[in-house]
């Protein structure tokens, strides 16, 4: 039994234990902590094996012989980083659930975590897909049942998210099915990612077909990541979702779509994103994310809406990294996935506290928090500045790598669509500075309307928040800690550059 199977199984066991009546908080935090420790251990060991750039901790159990489906696990750098992100955000999310919440909160969080672990650590397309779906259901249920809005609104929001994500999943399923069928020769149909990769290397598909399948996958995965114009479910869902769900979905689960593109679509269809019409469409869509949603975010009045939209907006950068497909840009994309995940989780956790205290998140009504809750405001600053892309915090390294990688894509000095996109996308950074700084100033400086007043979180409540802030700082200052894991991406990029 691989240690990675333990990682996937632990949240499921925690769910069972809580359902059967074990103390929810203890079990939940305990299992999350254990998973973080295990994955740190895996990371330490992986470093030794990383030079080969291949998969580590592999293990597979055959579930179905034909079509070949196996419950296989294994990590490469990308999977490992996302696994770490999942463990970190899960720990923070379940830690900050206050005791007066029903055990359902813990069950749902652990289910989402289990699904995310499964999706990131499995090496079989079937299970990658299946685990992601598993994680979506508690997300919808929690928004619909415990969302922070009146009954009708939260149900409407939950349905919107369900329909978008359900439809996206189906498109994705169609794309994956197509992919599997294309690569399966003879009577053998396999879902095993490793086998599929080998086949993609030995007998790649014709370029035009790669483009079409890649586009289908892009729409499928893109809906899950709120790619413009399929994004409109995201902001209301995050504004409405209970805090741990918002943290886990925006921070972790949403990255699944990007992960899928990097781990499944790019290696199997290396030419896909470089087919001209696919690239143009992708660049247009991600510019929509960055510019249009950026402007929309600036127009928002309420903090949860700002954060929800900014989360949509930042996906554009990661898509840019994937569209460029160079080693540097891909490394940047993975790094930014980590950074964004941690930062948005931190921000949602803090926003949740504020909403509990004030009952409103209108920036105009708040103010002067810095003097009442200095620790809180510093933590918030970490999150806000990280998402702007301030040097020294995790996102900066990611964004810079993406911009550099994308700009210098073909090594020549010509300025093609990709380069123009980079130039336009840089304005997005300015926009995020505008709305984040304005929100920060509005909330933490000046004076509040009467009665809107809060204290710093208690010590035990600070732990998960500090954990996230520390992760931002550490990765920001020493990005090579994660970049070392990403050597395997160079092989992908090399294929793509051909």
């Amino acid at each position: 039994m691989s240690i990675l199977e333990v990682v996937i199984l632990l949240p499921v066991l925690a769910v069972l234990a809580v359902w059967l009546g074990a103390p929810a908080r203890l079990v939940s935090v305990g299992s999350a902590l254990l998973n973080l420790v295990i994955l740190l251990g895996v990371a330490a060991k992986y470093k030794a094996a990383a030079a080969t750039g291949g998969l580590a901790f592999q293990h597979a159990r055959v579930v179905l012989e034909n079509p070949a489906i196996s419950f296989g696990v294994g990590v490469d750098g990308t999977a490992l980083i996302l696994g770490l992100l999942t463990a970190l955000v899960t720990l923070a999310a379940v830690w900050q659930i206050s005791d007066d919440r029903p055990p359902m909160y813990h069950i749902a969080s652990q289910l989402i975590a289990g699904g995310a672990f499964g999706a990131f650590l499995c090496t079989d397309v079937f299970f990658i897909y299946a685990f992601h779906e598993l994680a979506l259901i508690p997300t919808f249920l929690m928004i619909a049942l415990h969302g922070r809005a009146d009954d009708a609104t939260r149900k409407a929001v939950a349905w919107k998210a369900t329909i978008y994500l359900g439809a996206g999943s189906l498109v994705l399923l169609a794309g994956l099915g197509w992919l599997v069928l294309e690569f399966s020769g003879g009577s053998k149909l396999t879902f095993d990612l490793i086998a599929l990769r080998e086949m993609a290397q030995s007998s790649p598909l014709p370029v035009e077909k790669q483009g079409v399948i890649f586009f289908v996958l892009l729409i499928g995965f893109g809906t899950l990541v709120s790619l413009f114009p399929l994004h409109s479910w995201a902001a209301p869902a995050y504004a409405t979702a209970p805090v741990p769900v918002a943290m886990l979905h925006a921070g972790v689960l949403k990255k699944f779509g990007l992960y899928g593109l990097i781990r499944i679509a790019l290696p199997l269809l290396p030419q896909g994103p470089h087919v001209e019409w696919v690239q143009k469409a992708m660049l247009l869509m991600l510019l929509g994310n960055i510019i249009i949603i950026g402007l929309v975010t600036i127009a928002q009045k309420s903090l949860d809406r700002i954060l929800g939209n900014s989360s949509v907006m930042h996906m554009g950068y990661i898509f840019l990294g994937i569209a460029a497909g160079t080693e540097l840009a891909l490394q940047g994309a993975v790094l930014l996935m980590f950074g964004h995940g941690v930062a948005i989780a931190l921000l949602f956790a803090l926003t949740g506290r504020m909403r509990n205290q004030f009952g409103t998140l209108e920036v105009a009504k708040l103010g002067g928090l810095a003097s009442h809750a200095p620790v809180f405001s510093i933590l918030f600053a970490f999150g806000a500045f990280a998402s702007i892309g301030l040097p020294g915090l995790a996102n900066f390294a990611g964004e810079v790598l993406i911009f550099l990688g994308a700009f210098g894509y073909d090594g020549t000095a010509t300025v093609g669509p990709l380069q123009w996109t980079v130039i336009l996308a840089l304005w997005g950074v300015v926009m995020s500075a505008v709305y984040m700084l304005r929100a920060y100033r509005g909330i933490f400086q000046g004076t509040a309307a009467t009665g809107l007043f809060m204290n710093d979180p208690s010590f035990s409540q600070r732990v998960p928040l500090f954990l996230l802030a520390a992760a931002l700082l550490v990765v920001g200052c020493c990005p090579w800690l994660l970049l070392d894991f990403l050597k395997s991406l160079s092989t992908t990029a090399a294929v793509a550059a051909m």
Binding site: E65, L145, L170, G177, V180, S184
Partner: protein, 487 residues
């Protein structure tokens, strides 16, 4: 001991039970139920040890029955669903007593056994006459079962509707058989396949027979546009009967359909592509006509009825892919696999409806409000069942749908695929809505479930999960492609 003796045993048991009820007035309902359940369970146990080779069949049955993997699989399937239905009958005591006062429901315990034998024979039938005779045994028994709660005007209404449309389908079926026989000069599937492969066969006439035959069977499996009876009949009939109709009778219809389609689409058949087109168009239409109205249903039993229609659509689509088989699994075994996944989730759905109705509540969505508080165990089982019906990954339902989708993609039936996708997408909405209702709403008095029912629920939920995560055993049962002989 051959499989055939088990079928005889079921008939003897069914008839004996009728005699017992008539002749021994002191026998209680409980005793009748125990005999029936015990007998069915015994039959299932014996079935595992029975000699399943065709050679073990008695000589007079040999020309009419074949025991390929599909037949054996379905015979086991029929026994399991019959057991489940008998259990549901035990559970719906309150309902039955209300609408058939003073009865011991002997017919409700004996007729399913006879129906089971009929369905088992149907599964192994080799020719149209055997199919017709067994199909009618099943159909006539269902007329009685559907209208059994004769004091309920709903049940009577359902009975009349089922009667009219059942008789209509019989007429259409016989007409189809007549034309098929007329063109191919044969009643056996093998002979039909052979005759259709001859290029001189009159194509239009053969197609006419095929169309009527498929339409007649389409009624039995609730395929569009012959599905209109389903929601009313399912809603009006007693729960156990509805479950039996929606799983047992439909599965039996599909086995026959599989045989017929295999014959019509055998290698070189002059009408193969037309039949395939009929199946695909019919399947796509059925998925849509089952899924889209389901969105507006507030009654869960009607919802399950529409769900049953849309599942029939997926099964038809699976059959429609039967021609090519790049990955070993041909259309008929995909359909059989789909049926295998369909059994536990549908029975689970009806069992939950029955348990809730037993507690004095109805079938409407609001009757399920707050179920999570009244009985979290039941709510969890229901969630699992509905998730599986919706086809959420890691449940049995997803596996079945996956195969159908793969088959459609493989054969590039894009139109059918898009209809199937629309149906599945709608499914996410209408199946998850009742789940949402269960988790919201006011708490009420706790809902008690008897221990055996709890065990059955666990068993069904376990089956859904096991098939969803580890489908190898179920697929193993169907390993040998059914139609390999004719292809």
């Amino acid at each position: 001991m051959s499989v055939f003796s088990i079928e005889i045993l079921l008939v003897v048991l069914g008839v004996g039970l009728l005699l017992l009820e008539a002749l021994v007035p002191s026998l209680t309902r409980r005793a009748l139920a125990s005999i029936s359940l015990g007998g069915a369970a015994l039959a299932l146990v014996l079935f595992f040890f029975a000699d399943k080779s065709a050679a073990a069949l008695p000589a007079f049955a040999q020309p009419f029955h074949q025991l390929d993997t599909l037949a054996v699989f379905y015979k086991g399937f029929a026994l399991v669903i019959t057991l489940a239905v008998l259990w549901l009958t035990v559970e719906s005591r309150a309902y039955l007593e209300r609408y058939t006062p003073g009865g011991r429901h002997g017919e409700m315990f004996s007729l399913p056994l006879i129906v089971c034998a009929g369905m088992m024979w149907m599964a192994s039938a080799k020719d149209l006459i055997t199919v017709f005779v067994c199909l009618e045994l099943v159909t006539v028994s269902f007329y009685v079962l559907v209208a059994f709660a004769r004091k309920s005007s709903f049940a009577l209404e359902a009975g009349v509707k089922y009667l009219i449309l059942g008789a209509l389908s019989t007429g259409v079926l016989v007409y189809g058989i007549a034309w098929t026989y007329g063109v191919t000069d044969s009643m056996s599937f093998e002979g039909i396949a052979e005759a259709l492969a001859a290029p001189a066969t009159a194509k239009n006439a053969a197609l006419l027979g095929a169309a009527f035959l498929l339409a007649g069977l389409g009624f039995k499996v609730a395929a569009a546009p012959f599905h209109i009876w389903v929601p009313d009949v399912y809603q009006g009939a007693p729960n156990p009967v509805t479950a039996f109709l929606s799983v047992g009778s439909k599965a039996a219809g599909f086995i026959v359909l599989t045989r017929v389609v295999d014959a019509f689409m055998a290698k070189g058949s002059v009408i193969a592509s037309e039949v395939q087109a009929l199946l695909l168009i019919g399947g796509a239409l059925t998925v849509l006509l089952g899924s889209l109205p389901a969105i507006f249903q507030t009654n869960l039993k009607r919802l399950l009825a529409y769900s049953s229609i849309s599942h029939a659509g997926y099964l038809l689509l699976a059959l429609g892919c039967a021609q090519t088989a790049r990955f070993d699994l041909d259309g008929s075994s995909v359909a059989a696999f789909y049926l295998g996944t369909y059994l536990p989730m549908t029975v689970l759905g009806f069992l939950i409806l029955t348990v809730v109705r037993q507690a004095g509540l109805g079938d409407d969505a609001q009757d399920f409000a707050g179920l999570a508080k009244k009985n979290p165990f039941l709510a969890f089982a229901a969630t699992l069942g509905f998730a599986s019906l919706a086809g959420i990954p890691l449940t049995a339902g997803f596996m079945g749908k996956l195969f159908v989708f793969l088959g459609l993609v493989e054969n590039a039936h894009w139109f059918a695929l898009s209809c199937a996708v629309i149906g599945a997408a709608a499914g996410f909405y209408y199946y998850l809505r009742p789940v949402l209702v269960m988790f919201t709403g006011e708490s009420g008095p706790a809902l008690k479930i008897a221990a055996p029912t709890r065990a059955v629920l666990v068993l069904l939920a376990g089956a859904i999960l096991v098939i969803g995560v580890f489908p190898k055993p179920l697929q193993g049962v169907l390993k040998v492609p059914v139609a390999s002989a004719t292809k």
